[in-house]
Symmetry: C2
Subunit: 255 residues, 2 copies
DNA sequence: TTCGTCAGTGACGAATCGTCACACATTAAA
DNA sequence: TTTAATGTGTGACGATTCGTCACTGACGAA
C-alpha cells in the first residue's frame, strides 16, 4: 500500500537540465521571443505532459533557465573574488567577468533580464522563485566579500550614510546599466557607435570607485594593463571563446 | 484617373494615438505580456485590418508605444535641463525626473525596455525605428546640454580619455541601472528590501559626480534638501500623482 | 451611370498554449 | 500468480492569438 517512488532525484535533475539545455539552444537559434514549448518538446525525448511536469509553464521554464545562467555567472564572480591583487582591482575584474558573461552567453543574459519582468516571475513556480532568490544571494556574496576586503585593508571607507549593501548595489547596478545598454547587438541608440562597452565599463567603474574614495593599494603604472593581464590569466578559455565568436575585448582604444 | 487621397494626415495621427492609448490602458490592466492585438481591436472603433494598416504587427505597436513614452520622458528631461541652479544639481534633478517617470508610468517604462530587445526591434517597421532613433537623440540633448553647461562654468572638467558623449552615457547608464533594478514592483533580489530607490539613485549619482570631480557651484548646506525643493517646484503635478498612487518619494531616510 | 481606387471589414488558417483522459509500469498485498 | 493501487508518460484536444486576404462599400472621375 506504500506509494512507490519510481524515479530517483538524480534522474529528474538530469532530465530537467536536458530540457533547459535544449531550450537554450533554441533561444540561441531563434531568439527568445520565438521560444515555443512545442519546439522544446520536439527537441527532447519526452512528451509535452512530461515537460509540463517539470515546468508549470513557459515562464517557469524561462525562470529555470535564468537560474541556470546565474549559476554560471556566480562561478565567474567567485573566480574574480578569489583572484590575487588588491580589492579595487578585483572588483573591476568582477565587473569585467560580468561583461565576459554577457558577451559569451547573450541568450542567457537576456533570459535573466526577461525573468526579472513581473509577467515571468508572476507565472512561475514557488520552487524556482525560491531557488532564484538563493542564487542571487550567492551572487552577491562575491561582491560583498571584495567590499569587505577593501574595508579591512583600509583602502576603502564607507561613504557618509552608506552601508556595505549599498556599496555592493552601487557596483552591481553600475555594471548592469552599462552592460545591458551596450552589449545588445543592435545599435539601439543613434550615435552610440562611438561607445565601446569595455571602455565605458572601465571608465564608469573607476569613476564610481574614485567617487567612493577607494584607493588601489598597488600604485601600479597602468590599471588598464593590469586588468588586461588579470583577465588573460583568470579567464583564458572564456576569452578564447569570445575570440572564436569574432568579438574580442579590445583595450587598445584607451591605453 | 488621379488616385484620390481621402484621409488627411491629422486624422491618421489621431487614430494612431487612440490605438496607442488603448493599448497602454490594456498593459496597465493586464501586464505587457498579456497584451493582445485582439484585445486592442476590441477596445478600438476599428477593425483588425485597420489596426494592422497602422502597425505591421504586435512588436511594431510596442515600439510605437515606446516612442510615445520617450516623448513623455523627453519632456521631463527638458524641464530639468531648463531649471535654475548649477549644472550638477540639474543633472541630479534630471536623474530624478527619470525616476519620477518610472514610478508614474511603470507600464511605459517597461515598454521602452521591451522595445530595446532585438525581437521587437527586428519585427518593427522602418518608420517607427527611424522615429525611435530621432527621439533618443532628442532625449540625449538635455543631458548633453547640462554637461556642456558644467564644462562652460568650469565646475566640470573632462576626465582623462573621456569625451562629452561618454560623460553623458555614464550618467544615463547609472540612472538606468539603479532605476531598472529597483523600481520593479516585485522585490526581485532577496535582501533588497533595505534598498530604497530614491536613496540609492541619490547616492549613486553623487558618487559618480564626485568621481568625475564635478563640483557644485553653490556650496549649499544640504544637497538633499536642495533636490527636494527643486523637485517640488519643477514636478508638483507628477509628485501629486505619485502620491495619489500611494507611493511617495521619501527623502527622510537619508537626511 | 459606370468604373477605378482605396479605406475598412472580419472570417479564416496556422501556430501556440496548457490540460486531461487514457495507457503503461511498478510494487505490495492477496 | 493475480489483483489492486499508485506513479509516470502520452499526445489529441479546446482555447487563444496571430496576421492575412478576399470582399464590401464609399467616393470621385469619366
Amino acid at each position: 500500500m506504500t506509494p512507490p517512488k519510481l524515479l530517483d532525484e538524480a534522474a529528474l535533475k538530469e532530465r530537467e537540465l536536458l530540457i533547459i539545455n535544449s531550450a537554450v539552444l533554441l533561444i540561441q537559434k531563434n531568439g527568445i521571443e520565438n521560444l515555443t514549448m512545442d519546439k522544446v518538446v520536439a527537441q527532447v525525448p519526452f512528451s509535452k505532459g512530461t515537460v509540463y511536469k517539470h515546468f508549470i509553464g513557459k515562464e517557469d521554464l524561462l525562470l529555470a533557465i535564468s537560474n541556470y545562467s546565474i549559476k554560471v555567472l556566480g562561478d565567474l564572480f567567485y573566480r574574480a573574488y578569489q583572484f590575487k591583487g588588491c580589492a579595487r582591482s578585483r572588483m573591476l575584474l568582477l565587473n569585467f567577468s560580468y561583461l565576459i558573461y554577457a558577451m559569451l552567453y547573450p541568450a542567457l543574459f537576456q533570459c535573466v533580464l526577461c525573468a526579472k519582468s513581473p509577467n515571468v516571475a508572476g507565472k512561475s513556480s514557488e520552487k524556482h522563485i525560491n531557488e532564484s532568490e538563493k542564487l542571487e544571494v550567492k551572487l552577491m556574496t562575491s561582491i560583498h566579500g571584495i567590499v569587505e576586503d577593501g574595508l579591512n585593508d583600509n583602502s576603502l571607507s564607507l561613504p557618509l550614510n552608506m552601508d556595505i549593501q549599498q556599496i555592493c548595489f552601487s557596483n552591481w547596478s553600475t555594471a548592469f546599466g552599462a552592460i545591458s545598454l551596450l552589449s545588445g547587438e543592435v545599435d539601439q541608440c543613434s550615435g552610440r557607435t562611438s561607445l565601446i562597452v569595455e571602455r565605458e565599463l572601465f571608465n564608469l567603474s573607476n569613476l564610481l570607485y574614485d567617487g567612493m574614495g577607494w584607493q588601489p593599494l598597488t600604485k601600479d603604472s597602468n590599471p588598464c594593463l593590469e586588468l588586461k593581464s588579470a583577465l588573460d590569466e583568470l579567464f583564458p578559455e572564456e576569452l578564447a571563446k569570445i575570440k572564436a565568436k569574432g568579438r574580442e575585448l579590445n583595450f587598445d582604444s584607451f591605453s
